[in-house]
Amino acid sequence: MSFSLISQTFNKTKKESRPALLTYTVAGDSTKKKSLEILNSISKYADICELGFPHNTPIADGGQIQTSAYRAIKNGIKINDVFSIASQFKKSKKDKPIILMGYYNMIYQYNENKFINKCKKSKVDGLIVVDFPYPENKFFASKCKKKGINFIQLISPTTSRERLKGIIKDSHDMVYYISMLSTTGGKLKVAPRKILENYNKIKLLDKNKKIVIGFGITEKTIKSLNKADGLVVGSAICKEITSSINKRQNIVTNVTNIVKKLKNKIR
């Protein structure tokens, strides 16, 4: 069996003794063209790029990502544009994994199978569906796996031990640990030591699974969690897009600088 691009990426960052840096941006934010430019530019520093397909009722996202999502929808992003952004990105960055992230209704309306096929065709490496939890997602996840797409399960501080075991057992290469009880973009309200403690508990169940930590990660907090396999930064980036627009500055340059700084903190 060949290793997925996601696995290979984690193996590489492990050799470099550092966590993988995962970025999250919203497809179509601020425009289709701009979001592709941002992706291309930040991927110089990011190891894995998450690309959000925006939904206008995002029940787990805080203000920053909501703003990005509303902006993208207002500027006319459609789900097929999201695939086309992903596919164009992969044409120039073959070795960079891209993970689509969003809410289930978008997949449901597109049709599950059609969505998975389209992911494969666009060379999408993974999929995160925020409001489609385990075990309801088991069948869908296995369909993804058959097409070589990583379905990324989420784990939170409230996940019971019993659920945890099941989720890890049925998970693919990568698992997303939510650092705290919060929507995205919240202030890190839990001590990094505590987060890593939970992280280690998950890691002990299966050392081969790559666990990334997300929620509340910024320039200030990223270093304290650098023992993890990977760290996700989303709201901090979306916030920068908003502020660059407000200041009429170059979005691509500013966002790239942020990602570069984040990377430097964990090198």
Partner: protein
């Protein structure tokens, strides 16, 4: 897809929480899995607990003021010269609407779970007002999420919430109405579920919230059944139970005891918000044949675009102004047990005018939608047909809108 007999509709779902295999479920972020599971277990335990039931019934009677009356609208019936029109005046309940049932039960559950904070969403402001009342009654700290647009148009209820010591959190995202209030409330719960209980204001949301709300409002039909037997000595042969449907909590509560009856004997009619005459927007996913989608943790018919973005809705009635609807109403629609239709803003206003002209009743804009349907069909029906409308809310909260739309102060 089939309804089962002798099992409450709220319990006719599969192990993943789906009614009819496709409506409902729990599409929630991982963080909420545990609190939802805890709540599910607690509710299962409590509803079998005799002491808890006794407590519930005590508060329903002594705090809510159950039973609310069933009255014949003689003047209106005579004027329309058709079916007899009756009203179950649920707006007599403490606080002025059926929302008090769900709010009281949630406050009791919150207490039983040892939580001190309770949060809820509100559209018309009734769910929020009632939750603030119940919170005050049971000593809980309360936060209400409400769309900024609704805060403006339902001021009397906001004043009541503040008076009860609740904090109103205005929601400025999206259309600034109920749909955004529910989203924001769920987000708050995601961040604070360790010490906070969430009350969903209608029979919508993840499976367990549909069940708790339906279980609470079912009191309305238990009373009605008793009152019908008393009034007619038996359940009459031709009944139509007409109820407005936004999320669908009052309609389910009004119908639950009668779902097992043959629909030729008891027809269930749900009236959604058709929006303004001239507008393409509405809040009628059932009667305008919207597609199934996922909104706020459940699959139901939802006003949405092709891509799955939730559509803006429009209605004069804040309480019906919601793009989704309860999964149990979707189930009742697909099994053809209930019939769903809509009334426009103008039809609801006309109905309000007619009701208040003929009767000593002051229904809010929500039940005015149901009265519009009753007024429409009554003249075509025989005199032995009994139409009963659930007058589930009082128009005090609509003071400003009614003044603006109908001119004089009412």
């Amino acid at each position: 897809m089939k309804l089962k007999k002798n099992i409450p509709l709220i319990d006719q779902h599969d192990k993943y929480g789906f009614w009819g295999g496709k409506f409902g479920g729990s599409f929630i972020p991982e963080t909420l899995k545990k609190p939802v599971e805890d709540l599910t277990k607690e509710f299962q335990k409590l509803r079998k607990n005799k002491k808890f039931i006794k407590k519930r019934d005590y508060y329903f009677k002594n705090y809510i003021g159950s039973p609310t009356s069933l009255i014949k609208l003689e003047n209106l019936s005579n004027y329309l010269e058709g079916a007899q029109i009756w009203a179950k005046v649920v707006s007599e309940a403490n606080g002025g609407a059926h929302k008090i049932y769900n709010a009281t039960v949630h406050a009791l559950i919150c207490k039983a779970m040892g939580k001190k904070y309770i949060v809820g969403d509100t559209g018309a402001g009734y769910a929020g007002k009632m939750l603030s009342m119940a919170a005050k009654k049971f000593g809980l700290k309360c936060k209400i999420f409400m769309g900024a647009k609704d805060i403006k148009r339902q001021k009397p209820n906001c004043d009541a919430m503040r008076k009860n010591g609740a904090e109103i959190v205005p929601v400025f995202s999206g259309s600034q109405t109920l749909v955004d209030a529910v989203s924001e409330c769920m987000r708050y719960w995601v961040s604070n579920c360790d010490n906070t209980h969430m009350c969903v204001g209608s029979t919508v949301g993840p499976n367990i919230f549909v069940k708790i709300c339906g279980w609470s409002t079912a009191q309305i039909s238990r009373e009605l059944k008793f009152q019908l037997r008393k009034e007619f000595n038996k359940i009459p042969k031709k009944i139509k139970l007409i109820n407005c449907v936004g999320g669908g909590s009052s309609a389910y509560g009004f119908w639950s005891e009668f779902i097992d009856y043959n629909k030729k004997q008891i027809e269930l009619v749900g009236v959604e918000a058709g929006g303004p005459n001239k507008s393409k927007l509405h809040a009628a996913p059932l009667s305008k044949n919207s597609k199934i989608g996922i909104l706020h943790g459940a699959a139901s018919y939802v006003c949405q675009n092709k891509e799955g973005q939730i559509q803006e809705t429009e209605s004069i009635s804040a309480g019906l102004d919601y793009p989704g609807v309860s999964p149990i109403h979707c189930f009742l629609k697909d099994t053809k047990r209930a019939r769903y239709t809509y009334a426009t803003d103008e039809e609801a206003l006309n109905a309000y005018k007619m009701i208040t002209k003929f009767e000593k009743l002051n229904p809010s804009l929500e039940p005015s939608h149901a009265f519009a349907e009753a007024i429409k069909i009554a003249p075509k029906l025989s005199k032995d047909t009994i139409i009963i409308v659930n007058s589930c809310g009082d128009a005090k909260k609509d003071r400003d809108i009614l003044k603006e739309r109908l001119g004089k102060k009412r």
